[in-house]
């Protein structure tokens, strides 16, 4: 970049252009994971990809890395389309992805060996990287001898030793305990602040809203089914970031609202349930027990609470909490407004009910509001003997889900239906059978 007038184009490291990614589904159709997503990583910025599970955020990161082929659209590195692993990026994995049979030094040197760096230089550069990330003294240790935090340091050293243009991080701190995560995050941020840090951009995937606000200059909020960019939120906070800054809480609240789909910029949430089908409105993967727990907690907060506070109180992250909130809202136990939760009348009743009553209430609400439960119930009622094979429903679900996800959806519906005593399931014969309760309700 010798030119003085560097345009945006020159500072773009990775450009993702209208990428759609679809995988073949088991019934011969396709399953769209990303839908026309665009993203640019520019020099000097940290971008966070925030989304619930199933929003395709990991797929997007792997597309940037050149590990997954987009079905349409293009990924460019420094203006050149990539066809294979992106040569300008290093990646840090949630699971660390260290070779268990190589020492710390061996792991860090691995990428240098692949670039045929001489043995002496390889050794020196690896030692420097190990030093930089605070691992000196552990060069000859094997990953299994290290704690999770130390292992992730090795993962970071392995990525940084190659001096990548962009560093991609896939939920790098979510396998660590809260304190270790905080500590390591701070160290990464102080490396980033150093003027001679060779890496010019960081892209981090996270489901932790605070983490996104602590680190990123821009947060891309991804929506699900299929994954798309729902909103882009700039974080103009000074560094190092302070959680007590008024703008901080405000940004966190805004992101929560965007994620729950009730905030500004999230279209079509109110009218959705009417036309909801098992394919368009998948059941959130939660247990009835977890749902009851959430309702009880909101009940104990006098029927109203704030999502960030709740997450903080339970030390939950978005991925743990949001499915519960989604399910409770779907069934009509709570209402969500921005980052605020309100218990409905049904919710209050459910919180007070004894076990038989609560089952009845749950049966009524899930038969009315949970699309898949409703579909199963209708199909069973229309069958001759009130029984149908699970394959029938799996075949239906596979039009919109992968084989494994279809099974997950059916399992959730079975769990809910069993609790509600709407229908039962025989695992040996694979048959769903109408329960007695279903007839009484005459749904």
């Amino acid at each position: 970049m010798a030119q003085n007038t560097a345009s945006v184009r020159d500072t773009a490291i990775v450009e993702v252009d209208d990428v759609t990614t679809a995988f073949p589904s088991s019934d011969g159709g396709t399953l769209t994971v990303l839908d026309e997503v665009s993203l640019t990583l520019r020099e000097g910025e940290i971008v966070a990809l925030l989304g619930k599970s199933g929003s395709g955020k990991s797929t997007l990161l792997r597309t940037v890395a050149g590990l997954i082929a987009p079905t349409s659209g293009e990924v460019r590195y420094r203006g050149r389309p990539i066809n294979g692993a992106n040569p300008g990026v290093g990646m840090v994995f949630q699971s660390f992805a260290l070779m268990p049979w190589l020492t710390v030094q061996g792991n860090v040197e691995l990428g240098l060996a692949a670039r045929s760096v001489s043995a002496a230089e390889r050794r020196q550069r690896a030692l420097d990287a190990i030093d930089l990330i605070g691992l000196d003294g552990f060069e000859s240790a094997y990953p299994r001898e290290l704690s999770g935090g130390m292992r992730q340091r090795v993962g970071i050293a392995r990525a940084l030793v190659l001096r990548p243009d962009a560093l991609l991080m896939d939920e790098p701190f979510s396998a660590l305990d809260v304190l270790t995560a905080e500590n390591l995050r701070n160290e990464v941020m102080s490396l980033w602040a150093q003027p001679d840090f060779p890496t010019k951009s960081v892209c981090i995937v996270t489901h932790n809203i605070e983490e996104a606000v602590l680190m990123a200059d821009r947060v891309l909020v991804l929506g699900s089914n299929p994954g798309h960019v729902r909103a882009e939120v700039g974080v103009p906070l000074p560094r190092p970031r302070d959680r007590r800054h008024p703008l901080f809480a405000q940004t966190v609240d805004r992101l929560y609202a965007l994620l729950t789909g009730t905030g500004p910029g999230a279209p079509g949430t109110a009218a959705a349930p009417v036309a909801a089908t098992p394919l368009s409105a998948p059941l959130p993967d939660v247990s009835v027990g977890g749902l009851a727990g959430l309702v009880e907690i909101v009940h104990s907060h006098n029927g109203q609470t704030d999502l960030p506070d709740l997450a903080d109180e339970l030390s939950f992250e978005v991925d743990d909490l949001l499915p519960l909130v989604d399910a409770a809202a779907l069934l009509g136990f709570i209402e969500v407004d921005g980052a605020q939760l309100f218990l409905t009348e049904d919710g209050r009743a459910w919180g007070r009910a004894d076990i038989q009553e609560s089952k009845k209430l749950f049966a009524r609400l899930s038969a009315a509001h949970a699309p898949l439960v409703r579909t199963i119930l209708k199909a069973l009622e229309n069958s001759d003997d009130g029984a149908l094979r699970d394959d029938f429903f799996l075949d239906l679900l596979r039009r919109g889900f992968s084989g494994a996800d279809a099974r997950v959806q059916l399992d959730i519906a079975i769990q809910w239906g069993r609790y509600a005593e709407l229908f039962d399931y025989d695992a040996d014969s694979g048959e769903l059978v109408l329960g007695e309760v279903a007839a009484a309700f005459g749904v």
């Binding site: 890395a65 692993a85 992106n86 990646m91 949630q94 049979w101 691995l110 299994r144």
Partner: protein
């Protein structure tokens, strides 16, 4: 391993360098001994070919035994090395090539079902043509037979580990832009090391059986004998020399135990470093031999000396390219390639089938297949009886051993030796008993087949029973289950998966053993049973190659068919209903 232990402070420097010196000495002496043995033995292999060398020429002098045993052992290790190389190439090709996989894996599936000794009779002539003037041809045929008993299993295990590689490690390797060569040695081999070593050990144990059977080969009315412990026993049997057979059994036990202690145990202990995931709950494998090697500086010295060679290879093998998959492929070119590939495979398959049919039709007629299938049913009956009786006898015993940890610790190694001890060493005694009691080999053959095969049931049931979680057993006790309830509600369901594994291995072993169990000779008396094994054995001995082909094809069909129709369903049932996880 220079991890300091808590006791490091107690050992003085002098004592440490003392152990190290002793370790160095032991390692160097061991190294020299192996080298000497190799040189000594290889002189024998290259000996000029003597087609008149018959079974009678093999000496049964016990002093000849160590040399014979060493020759047999060398054969085993050469076959093992060949199996490893084959495994690396074949499994990698199958796992990394989309089209290759579609052909290579079914082929492997079929090869696995072909009786091992059939390979011997079919390929011997080829080997003799390749090495016409030395013993090397027969030697190669024998090694090839052992190879076929080991390779398929190991290849499947390695292929499985390649296709189930953790996704994040695969992605890391691609992003680091490792060359194919680097990826193979830094990721593929290490992640497949544990299944490879354990499968190698099991297959090696099974290999002894075929080694013994392949050292004396009767083809085209001619008997070839190689110096080895197997031909020693064959010769002793022909001479009705019971003491010599007992000597051979003793040497064989020493060899099985020795190879286990000096080779497999250190290897499995060493392979532990390639275990993935959390290993803290595992009881570590220990090996004295490995400890000595680790204390000694010699392996490190050799490693350092070979390092430049490794670096050179690393650079040279970069020509294989980077282990990356292109993101874009031309769908039309891909479709055309697939089509061409399918056409070639279909043509080859059709041509091969037609050739075999023409060959059989023009020689013995296609009705021969029906005859062989009838005989196959008889042998199948024997396999069935073996499985039923093996289960009735060994499941209770295995459960008892497995559920008593103290007995398990003592019994497991013994059973391991029994499983790898070649049953054909015991054939002379059983044959003798059959001759004296006048019991027909039609029934006695079952016992001969069972001698080798039954241990797989016992071995697996022990493993299954010892893996029953303690809390389930406690629950059964606290619920005061009766003995009957305890067996039907807890024990049998819990060991079902292990029994299936044992059963399929035992059945495979029994089919293989039928070829040597349905025709047995002691001295001048030969007993013959009705069955497919005897059919193949006789056809091989008289050089009746159409019948050899028919017999082998029918037996393979039986094994493949039973696996598909019965065992695979059992596996699925075990996975769905009786899995403990």
């Amino acid at each position: 391993m220079s991890t300091p232990t808590t006791f490091a402070g107690h050992t003085t420097v002098g004592a440490r360098s003392g152990t190290r010196l002793a370790a160095d000495a032991v390692v160097l002496i061991g190294f020299a001994a192996v080298l000497w043995l190799l040189i000594h033995l290889s002189q024998g292999i290259a000996a000029p070919f003597d087609p008149s060398r018959d079974i009678d020429a093999v000496s049964t002098d016990p002093s000849q035994l160590p040399y014979d045993a060493a020759r047999s052992l060398l054969r085993m290790f050469i076959a093992l090395a060949a199996s490893v190389v084959f495994t690396f190439v074949y499994a990698t090709a199958a796992a990394r090539s989309r089209r290759g996989e579609k052909v290579l894996i079914p082929i492997l599936d079929i090869l696995q079902s072909v009786p091992v000794l059939a390979f011997l009779s079919v390929t011997l002539t080829v080997w003799i043509v390749i090495f016409p003037n030395s013993e090397l041809g027969v030697e190669c045929a024998s090694i090839f037979a052992i190879f076929t008993s080991q390779a398929w299993n190991m290849t499947f295990a390695f292929y499985n580990s390649l296709t189930t590689q953790p996704r994040d490690l695969d992605e890391a390797a691609r992003l680091l832009r490792l060359t194919r060569w680097q990826r193979f040695w830094k990721l593929d081999v290490p992640s497949g090391m544990i299944p490879l070593v354990w499968n190698g050990m099991m297959s090696f144990g099974g290999g002894w059986f075929f080694l013994v059977a392949s050292e004396v080969i009767s083809v085209n009315n001619h008997t070839y004998a190689l110096p080895g412990i197997g031909s020693y026993v064959a010769s002793a049997t022909a001479e009705e020399n019971i003491p010599a057979i007992l000597w051979a059994i003793a040497v064989m036990i020493v060899m099985v135990v020795g190879v286990n202690a000096l080779f497999w145990r250190p290897l499995t202990a060493w392979a532990e470093r390639f275990r993935m995931g959390d290993t803290s709950s595992q009881v570590p494998q220990r090996s004295v031999v490995l400890d000595v090697l680790r204390h000694s500086g010699v392996p490190r010295l050799i490693g350092r000396a070979l390092a430049p060679l490794g670096r050179g290879l690393d650079r040279a093998m970069a020509v294989f390219g980077v282990a990356d998959v292109p993101l874009r492929v031309d769908p039309r070119r891909r479709r055309i390639g697939d089509l061409a590939f399918a056409v070639v495979v279909a043509v080859a398959l059709t041509w091969g089938t037609v050739q075999v049919i023409i060959f059989v039709q023009s020689s013995v007629g296609l009705w021969e297949f029906a005859d062989a299938a009838g005989l196959g049913l008889v042998t199948f009956g024997r396999v069935l009886v073996l499985l039923v009786f093996g289960t009735i006898i060994w499941v209770p015993v295995g459960v008892w051993i497995g559920m008593n940890p103290r007995v398990t610790r003592f019994a497991q190694p013994v059973v391991q030796v029994l499983a790898s001890f070649p049953a054909n060493f015991l054939f002379p005694f059983v044959t003798l008993a059959l001759i004296h009691t006048g019991i027909s080999l039609n029934i006695g053959g079952i016992l001969l087949m069972a001698l080798g095969a039954q241990w797989y049931i016992l071995f697996n049931v022990i493993a299954g029973a010892s893996a029953i979680p303690a809390d389930l057993r406690d629950a059964a006790t606290s619920l005061r289950l009766s003995r009957w309830q305890r067996w039907t509600r807890l024990i049998l369901p819990a060991i079902f998966a292990s029994w299936v594994t044992g059963g399929i291995t035992a059945a495979g072993g029994a089919w293989n053993a039928s070829i040597v169990s349905e025709v047995v000779t002691y001295g001048s008396t030969t007993l013959t049973a009705v069955g497919l094994g005897a059919y193949i054995a006789n056809a091989t001995a008289t050089g009746d190659s159409p019948r050899v082909y028919v017999g082998v094809i029918v037996m393979s069909l039986f094994v493949v068919g039973l696996n598909r129709l019965f065992w695979r369903r059992m596996y699925r049932l075990a996975e769905r209903r009786f899995s403990l996880t």
